[in-house]
Every structure is written in structure tokens, then in C-alpha cells.
Amino acid sequence: MSVTATIRIQEADFDVAQEIAALSKGRTDVGAVVTFSGICRGSENGEPIAALTLEHYPGMAEAEIGRHADEALSRWPLQGLTIIHRFGRIAPGENIVLVAAASPHRQAAFEAAEFLMDYLKTNAPFWKREESEKGTSWVEARDHDDAAAARWTKP
């Protein structure tokens, strides 16, 4: 049976526990669910942050995440996959992103979740802007995120 990823790009917050439960609800073949949830930090380099605002490219965000979800489904034996990415203003402590991967055994779920997060960081069209006492500024991309994504490229 082919597996379809659930992908949601939304302004509203989400419930991580509910998303995990949805992946294994009513079935007994799932042996592992690995989740990564990205949460808004309240400080950056020692400076307090009031909020993050995420801008995104509607349409491309869904398409780009969909392409990477399809690649993950083809590379690992997954039984379910949920990816949620928020946009808009997000306060410290709130969720930003969720990747949840279900598989019969843990290794595939761990690897798929890590692969997807590494690609989301560098290829999904989202941009973070920080609000602090000093004003607002765009978050700069980090070289180590590019390096993390590059290690998944097939030779």
C-alpha cells in the first residue's frame, strides 16, 4: 500500500501529541514514530527575543516540502509521515515545525526525520525575522545547515 505524506503549512499552532497519535491510531504494524519539533527560542546569542515572524512562499512551500516528503518515502520504508510548518508571528515556547515519521523499526524513522529537517532548513521557502528590543532583523542562513543537507545527497 502506498503511503501519502500529510503536509500542512499553517498559521495556527498544532498539538504534537495529537499528530503522533494520528500516525499509529487503529493499527498494530507501526513499531516506531520519530518526531522532531522545532520550538521558538526566547533568546539568541544571549539577547532576548520577543517573537519570530515567518514569511513563506505560498504554493512553493507546499511543493518543495512535498518533493522532499516523496523522496523520503522512496528512500525509507515509512508507514506514515506528517510535516507541519507554521508561518506568521510565533512567540517563544510555541511550535514552529513538526516532522513525524512512522516505520516498523526505528532506524528508518530516525533517518527520514533527520533528512527532512536538514532539507527543510535549507530548501523550504521560509524566512525568519526576529523581534527584539533593538528592533527586527532577518535571521541569517548558517553554513552548517547547508553542510547538514549536503550529506544526504546521493553520490
Binding site: 514569511e55 512562499y57 518543495e64 515545525v97 521557502p125 524566512w127 532577518w138
Partner: protein, 83 residues
């Protein structure tokens, strides 16, 4: 063709999207960046470091040498910082 701008590229250009009709000798994404840069100070500022700018044609990532013929929508933006 429709051109969209995001994040600080959008702020510097001053609009989120517009329709442009570049001349026929503007063949690639890089050519389009050069042509847009010549349209005024705001564009020149947005594209002052062309190597930093990322581009997408019809909502898929492309390299600077990608040919723009046939494109409906071209987007320019800084390196992404989602996740």
C-alpha cells in the same frame, strides 16, 4: 512574466510582486538579475550581492544560469531560514 520577491529582497525592492517584460536578450536568471538591477536604486540595492540571491522558476529552485523562457513566475529571495 510575474516576478515575486521575498524577505529582505522584497523589502529592498519595495513590492512583493510585479509583472515585467524584459527584452529578448535577457535569457537567464542571472541576466534577469542584471536587468532588474538597472531599473533603479531599490533594485540595485536588493541585488547588490547577486551570489547571495536564490531564485525559483514556477515554484522550483533553479541555478543562476537557468533559462527563463516560458517561465510564468520567477521568484527571488535570500537563503532560506525555515525549520
Amino acid at each position: 512574466m510575474r516576478v515575486k520577491y521575498f524577505a529582505w529582497v522584497r523589502e529592498r525592492v519595495g513590492v512583493a510582486e510585479e509583472t515585467v517584460e524584459p527584452p529578448a536578450d535577457v535569457r537567464t536568471v542571472n541576466d534577469l538579475i542584471g536587468w532588474l538591477s538597472s531599473r533603479g536604486e531599490a533594485y540595485a540595492y536588493a541585488f547588490e550581492k547577486p551570489k547571495v540571491i536564490r531564485a525559483a522558476i514556477d515554484q522550483a529552485h533553479v541555478k543562476p544560469d537557468a533559462v527563463i523562457a516560458g517561465a510564468r513566475e520567477i521568484a527571488f529571495f535570500p537563503p532560506m531560514t525555515g525549520g
